[in-house]
């Protein structure tokens, strides 16, 4: 499909918000029958570009042509009519409606002016059948998993528009099996002749599915390339504008004497019925413990137990030789624990608060609200994290809702780092964060651990775990099934332990 005519052609697109330039003179061409990845660091302008193409924002400069005709969609509905359908980075679809209602919202089949529910149900079933889903379309959307919802969202967008499908980080909350499911759907759509734009931070996925890539940096255009002729290192330097410095841990680095000495934080036979089977866990100062396992294997549940969100019904927790009861997050924080949950986007941020207020929040809570941090303290705090995590734009007073998705996540991470916890638990800390910042965060973790902080990292990305963890605990079926340490911490070993827990011996 080399000479296919451009389906969508954007030239010289520019957009600024409150004086900040988000996009400057960006060109973008999409052919029909291709999957085109849009890449770039957090805040590079990816979401902004597709929001312009899909009618959420209006562009300041530039032209957009669809099938050779100039278009300027003023809202989502207009873009849909033109043939451009979108699955946005933010929540899509409505959990309080049924699957069929979601699929046909705004375009329900009608008879005599009234919605024809039977017809709607029939069409919904037929539509999803094309995507290999046979589910109850009268059940509420909220009764289905994120992956199924994602496919429903794609089905809706495609059915609605039919020419261009835009996906902003569609796989950010899917596990690898679910990603495959969604990608199979995308490939089928490509073969049908659709043009697909996908934004993702997972480079593996880019090489897996994309035909071409366009890279943005700081709102500017870096270039468009065929993926087959683009080596990975070159792609990374296109994105970052420099070479990536890799972080890998020397797996023997944790001091042998530390390892032998008894750990200050220990959990014995800790567990909760129906949540996680009892486990033992010792944590040494300066140690990074990774937790691997599939979605739903009990990783998040373990974190909830350790942080007192769920209460253990068996076992004991010892801190510095004293038995303690961690019955609530408050007591956990009082013992110096910190926890950065999954789904930060929905749980963590307070949109109207500034970046610096969002960062100061946890520290303030720990100090008690009676002793407010001074404005100067907050500013210093914010400045140091904005610099070290490279939060963009570097403006501590900007309401956080105006930051790009990945930069919001960095601010939430900063919030927990600011409390200088002795044990920090992070659940999927780098999802949606670009590789440059990713490396930065790993380096920061290393620095903090050198100062004696202990860390538990839950992650689905095995490279990330092998890069930072001294030890990796593997979970399956809500049990801790294996522990890898030292030189046995490799992606292959973790995979093997997840796949067949009984085979692996605890090292």
């Amino acid at each position: 499909m080399n000479d296919t005519h451009p389906l969508l052609e954007a030239r010289g697109i520019g957009k600024s918000f409150l004086g900040i330039t988000a996009l400057d003179n960006v060109d973008f061409t999409l052919r029909s029958g291709e999957i085109h990845a849009l890449l770039g660091e957090n805040g590079a302008g990816k979401s902004t570009l597709i929001k312009i193409l899909t009618g959420v924002y209006t562009r300041d400069t530039g032209t957009v042509k669809l099938d050779g005709r100039d278009v300027a969609p003023g809202n989502v509905a207009e873009a849909q009519e033109l043939g451009i359908g979108t699955v946005y980075q933010e929540v899509n679809l409505l959990e309080n409606l049924t699957v069929a209602e979601n699929l046909f919202l705004g375009r329900q089949p009608r008879r005599f002016g009234l919605v024809n529910r039977r017809e709607m149900r029939r069409r919904a079933q037929a539509l999803l059948h094309d995507y290999g889903l046979t589910i109850d379309v009268d059940a509420l959307l909220s009764s289905y998993s994120v992956a199924i919802r994602q496919i429903i969202a794609i089905a809706r967008a495609v059915d609605l528009s039919g020419k261009v499908l835009v996906l902003d980080e569609p796989t950010a909350s899917l596990d690898s099996h679910e990603v495959e499911m969604v990608f199979a759907v995308l490939r089928k759509l490509r073969d049908r002749g659709l043009g697909i734009i996908i934004i993702t931070h997972f480079l593996n996925q880019v090489y897996d599915i994309a035909d071409r890539v366009t890279v943005l940096r700081n709102g500017g255009m870096v270039g468009t390339r065929e993926i087959e002729t683009l080596p990975r290192m070159e792609l990374i330097s296109m994105m970052l504008g420099k070479e990536l410095q890799h972080v890998t841990r020397d797996h023997h680095a944790l001091d042998e004497t530390v390892e032998k000495s008894s750990a200050p934080i220990r959990f014995n036979g800790y567990g909760k019925r129906g949540s996680v089977a009892p486990f033992d866990l010792d944590i040494h100062p300066g140690e990074v413990v990774g937790m691997a396992g599939l979605l739903g294997s009990g990783r998040t549940e373990t974190a909830f137990l350790l942080f007192g969100i769920d209460r253990a019904d068996t076992g004991t927790a010892m801190i510095d030789g004293n038995e303690v009861r961690i019955s609530s997050p408050e007591t956990a924080i009082a013992h110096g624990f910190g926890f950065g949950p999954e789904e930060r986007k929905t749980d963590g941020i307070i949109g109207d608060f500034s970046v610096s207020e969002n960062i100061a929040l946890a520290l303030q809570a720990r100090q008690g609200w009676a002793k407010p941090l001074s404005t100067r303290q907050k500013a210093e705090l914010a400045d140091s994290f904005i610099r070290s995590l490279d939060i963009r734009p570097p403006d501590p007073d900007r309401p956080i809702k105006f930051l790009s998705g990945g930069n919001q996540q960095k601010a939430i991470l900063a919030r927990w780092l600011a409390t200088e916890p002795r044990l920090l638990i992070l659940d999927e800390p780098t999802r949606g964060i670009d590789i440059g910042a990713h490396a930065e965060i790993l380096r920061m973790i290393e620095r903090l651990c050198a100062d004696g902080m202990s860390l538990i990292v839950i992650s689905s990305e095995l490279e990330e775990l092998t890069a930072v963890a001294h030890r990796v605990i593997v979970l399956a079926d809500r049990r801790h099934v294996a522990e890898l340490r030292g030189s046995t911490v490799t992606a292959d070993n973790i995979m093997a332990a997840i796949a067949d827990p009984s085979e692996t011996e605890a090292a």
Binding site: V76, N92, L93, L94, E95, E101, G106, L114, V115, S145
Partner: protein, 328 residues
């Protein structure tokens, strides 16, 4: 199919039937078309307003102006017809236009100025009440051949009960309301906005038009309710129907609509109205109970239903989490 979504409605229906059965056991006379007819007539104006409130609450909003708009309407109609001698049908048309535009204006402010519905409709409540005082502070009696004709019109049930024009109007409003909510695109948009306005917007729902439509509808139905009230009392009085919006909210919530929006049925509100009416009827039959018991029982019912709703939300969340764990 019984989904958890309809559980609160079914619970309300069950409570109503059980309570009615219990009442009939104690006072067999309560099982008569006469009681039923009166129950419908006495609550007609509240029911009409509560349909509007159902749409507002389904969309995640609230309308506090209802009681004041009813009072304004009744005073307006009474003065225009009673003192100025205008044809009542013209007065009705005029007052419905006023109340609908009033509601639409509130909707515009909520949507385009981003002011919370609570604040906007609170202001609307004072404004409409003030306007009613401005027209007249007295109770204005009203009499006109057309009005007398409407008041005198009814169907007779076997057993002596009467289905009055007002009761028919209320039932018609419920019927149309249920169709609009369940079977039109506008209705679907109301549920969508109540579920999550951002998502709804990104799915191509015109949230602005829907919001304005919802408050205009509520304004229109408040006006209609005011007309029913005028017919019911044959007068207009600016001090009347204080707090009716709260009774309407209670009926909506007891009928199983989620106060946070996005789930509920118009039919549920009818059950909520019937439950409230049943309590009042029971108190009349008993003769010794103070009418304040109505408020107490409604208060208790409200608590029960809010707890029930939380329970259902909690239960379905849990099932969801468990489902996910199994899937993985």
């Amino acid at each position: 199919m019984i989904s958890t979504r309809n559980l609160p409605f079914l619970a309300a229906l069950a409570i109503f039937l059980l309570a009615y059965a219990a009442c009939v056991l104690q006072f067999p006379n309560m099982l008569s078309t006469r009681v039923l007819g009166n129950l419908l007539t006495d609550n007609a104006f509240l029911g009409i307003a509560a349909v509007g409130m159902t749409f507002v609450i389904l969309s995640g909003g609230i309308d506090l102006s209802i009681g004041s708009v009813i009072a304004f309407t009744s005073v307006f109609v009474a003065v225009v017809v009673g003192s100025a001698g205008v044809n009542p049908l013209i007065a009705f048309a005029a007052v419905l236009t006023i109340s609908t535009s009033f509601g639409a204006t509130m909707g515009l402010m909520i949507r385009f100025l981003g002011i919370p519905p609570f604040v906007v409709t609170l202001a609307g409540m004072f404004l409409a009440r003030g306007a009613a005082y401005l027209i007249s502070t007295q109770s204005v009696p009203i009499s006109h051949p057309i009005i007398d004709a409407i008041q005198g019109f009814y169907f007779r049930f076997p057993g002596g009960g009467r289905l009055t024009a007002m009761a028919m109007l209320m039932l018609l409003v419920f019927l149309v309301g249920a169709f609009v909510a369940g079977r039109t695109r506008f209705g679907a948009n109301v549920y969508a906005v109540g579920g999550n306005p951002q998502s709804a917007e990104l799915m191509g729902v015109s949230v602005g038009r829907t919001t304005v439509g919802i408050y205009a509808l509520s304004g229109f139905l408040s006006g209609l309710s005011g007309i029913a009230y005028t017919l019911y009392t044959s007068s207009g009085y600016s001090l009347a129907t204080v707090g009716v919006e709260l009774d309407a909210i209670a009926a909506v919530v007891i009928g199983g609509t989620l106060l946070t929006g996005g789930a509920g049925l118009v039919a549920g509100t009818l059950v909520g109205i019937l439950i409230q009416g049943l309590i009042q009827t029971y108190i009349v039959f008993d003769g010794t109970l103070s009418s304040w018991w109505t408020k107490i029982v409604i208060g208790l019912l409200l608590f029960t239903f809010i707890v029930l709703q939380r329970g259902i939300v909690w239960y379905s969340d849990r099932r969801l989490v468990e489902g996910r764990l199994k899937e993985a």
